[in-house]
C-alpha cells in the first residue's frame, strides 16, 4: 500500500468553505482514479481569528500499478489541473508528501 499526505494551508477564515469544495470537487475524482481517502484533518483543531488553518488529507493507493495508473489519468485530465488552479486562490501553501512505511508502522 502507498500513502501520501496533502497539506493544504488555507487563508484565515476560509477553511470551512475550502473543505466543502474539496469534498465536492476533488475527492470524487481522486476516488475515481483509484485513490482511497484514509482521513482528513484540520490543524489547529479550532480556527484562530486571523490565522491560517492547514487541511491534512491522507490518501492510500493499493499497488505500484495503481500508483502509475492514477498518475497517468491525472496527467491527462484537465479537471485535475483546473481544480488545483482554482484552489490556489484559497491556499497560502501546499505540499504533497509521499510516505514509505517505517518497519514498526501499523499502517503499511
Amino acid at each position: 500500500m502507498f500513502y501520501f499526505l496533502d497539506e493544504l494551508t488555507v487563508h484565515p477564515g476560509k477553511v470551512q468553505g475550502f473543505l466543502a469544495r474539496y469534498k465536492e470537487r476533488y475527492i470524487p475524482g481522486a476516488q475515481a482514479r483509484g485513490l482511497t481517502l484514509v482521513g482528513t484533518w484540520v490543524t489547529p483543531p479550532v480556527e484562530v481569528d486571523g490565522e491560517p488553518c492547514t487541511v491534512v488529507a491522507m490518501w492510500s493507493i493499493p499497488s505500484e500499478q495503481a500508483f502509475w495508473t492514477q498518475k497517468h489519468t491525472a496527467r491527462n485530465d484537465p479537471a485535475v489541473a483546473a481544480w488545483w488552479k482554482e484552489a490556489r486562490a484559497s491556499l497560502s501553501r501546499r505540499e504533497r508528501r509521499y510516505l514509505n512505511a517505517a518497519s514498526f508502522s501499523p499502517l503499511r
Binding site: 502507498f2 505500484e64 500508483f67 502509475w68 498518475k71 491525472a74 496527467r75 491527462n76 485535475v80 489541473a81 488545483w84 501546499r94 505540499e95 504533497r96 509521499y98 510516505l99 514509505n100
Partner: protein, 226 residues
Amino acid sequence: MLRRVMFLKPRDGVTEQQMDGLFRACQEAPRHIPGVVGMQGGKNLIARVPEDAYMVDTLYRDLAAYETYRHHPYHEEALKPLFNRADPRSLVESYDAVFYEPLREEFPQPDMKNLLRRSLIVRIEPGTPPEQTLQWEKHIMEMPRHIPAIRNWAFARVMQTPRPSVWTHAWEMEIQDADAFRQYLDSPFHWGVVDRWFDPEWPMRIVAPRFLHGYYKTPATVLGWR
C-alpha cells in the same frame, strides 16, 4: 560524440516488415558514412501514441560528422527517401528528433545482451527557476545509485544545434527486460522522489506533461557505442 534520438510515426498502412527494412538501411549507415559510429532502431514496446511508435538511435563522431552524414550519397539516396514525407517511398509520416552530448553517463555493464534500450525526452516548463532544474537533474542522476535495475545510462541537456528543439533533457538507460523496468517503476526513489517533478498534482512540478518515451529491444548496448 553527438547522439541523436528519433521517435517516428509511420505512415498509415506501413507494415512492421517495411519498418524492419528501414532499420536495416539505418544499420548499414556506419559502413558507408564516415563519422557515423552507430545507427539502429526498433519498435517502441511501450508506445502510447502513434508519434512514439518507433525509435532510431544514431551516434556521430561530432557535429562535423553529422554534416557529412546529411550530405552523403548514402543518406541522400538510401535513408532520406524513407524518412521524407514528401517522397513517395517514405515510410514515415512524421518524426521528432533530439541531439545531445551526455552531461553524465555510466556503463557498468557494456557487454549486456538482449536488453531494452529506453529513452525519455522531456521539456522543463519555461520560467522554472534554475535551482529547481538543477535539483531535478541531481535527482535524476542519483537514480542509478538507488535502482540497481538501471545498468548503462546517460543524462543530457538537449542541444539546440544542429536544429532547435522544444525538448530540454534526455534521460536514457539500458535495462535487461520488462521486469527490470517494473523494478525501476516500483522503486520508492522513483515514485517518491523523482516522479514528484512530473506529478501534475505536486505543487513544484516542473516537467511538462507531454514527453517522448519508449524502449526497444536491442541485441547489444547502444549507449556504449564507441
